[in-house]
Symmetry: C2
Amino acid sequence: MPFSLSKASLPVFEIALNALSAVLDKAQAHATAKKFDVSVLLNSRLAPDMFALTRQVQIACDLAKNGSARLAGVEPPRYEDKETTTAELKARIAKTLAYLKTVDRKQIDASADRQLRFPLGPVNKGEMKGDDYLNHFLLPNFYFHLTAAYAILRHCGLDIGKRDYLGAIPMKMT
Amino acid sequence: MPFSLSKASLPVFEIALNALSAVLDKAQAHATAKKFDVSVLLNSRLAPDMFALTRQVQIACDLAKNGSARLAGVEPPRYEDKETTTAELKARIAKTLAYLKTVDRKQIDASADRQLRFPLGPVNKGEMKGDDYLNHFLLPNFYFHLTAAYAILRHCGLDIGKRDYLGAIPMKMT
């Protein structure tokens, strides 16, 4: 099977978001074991002007959802940002994963040379070719928020490693 | 031009590493302005068992260099890990960028279905198909260390934003 935009996006988001969901379970278990409210973790951030964990998870989900939709040339559904528990954040991830399954791979693959226009904040729009959008905007931004979520938890003492971040990747270890 | 493994790797590393080099300039300027030794930043980390900034930069460089070489089916050069200043780290980035220019794009593109074998720590080996290696190992790991480097500096109060992280991406803003 040739390399394609859909292959470089949909399964990437799927594996990474499933990994993030499992990391949230570990965060919940850690808070329960240490007898503190998990919302302390959900509201933690690495700098005063960086987003807290909850928002990092929401943005990672939205990048996967909106990015895949934009590549496919369809309008993404909008999710409200009202999660306050790990269960709710895991439900948002699950909803995002379910949405990704509905996106047409062929439409994504056809977008390499199509000019995409997408919101950049409340006012501006960005414009990029489909393949550039995936390589230079969508993936770097997705991994930024995924890594930030992971790093917040490491910073707070959660015992997770690179495998928790990578998730169930198709790798054979020998 | 069809989507290809070389397009999803070489220019991605190039833009991101150039961005990282510019971020190191800002780190140096910040330390100079605040009259503290920049090695404080270079030795900062987000958790006691995470790597400090210097090592994050070295690993990001090595992932770009070794990953591109492995995709192309050639042996990557080895760089010693002895950088202690921003100038030395920037030189390592420059050396990595120069190496990336020598990697054969066609050899990378031909690796999608080739089984790659690569070191995982000092003992183990990982095995993945070329396209899976890029999508599920190389890019997530590269962005992990790039984001960690950026997040360490944000955590230490450096005034940088998402554009510093993304770098000179081919985006038109309207």
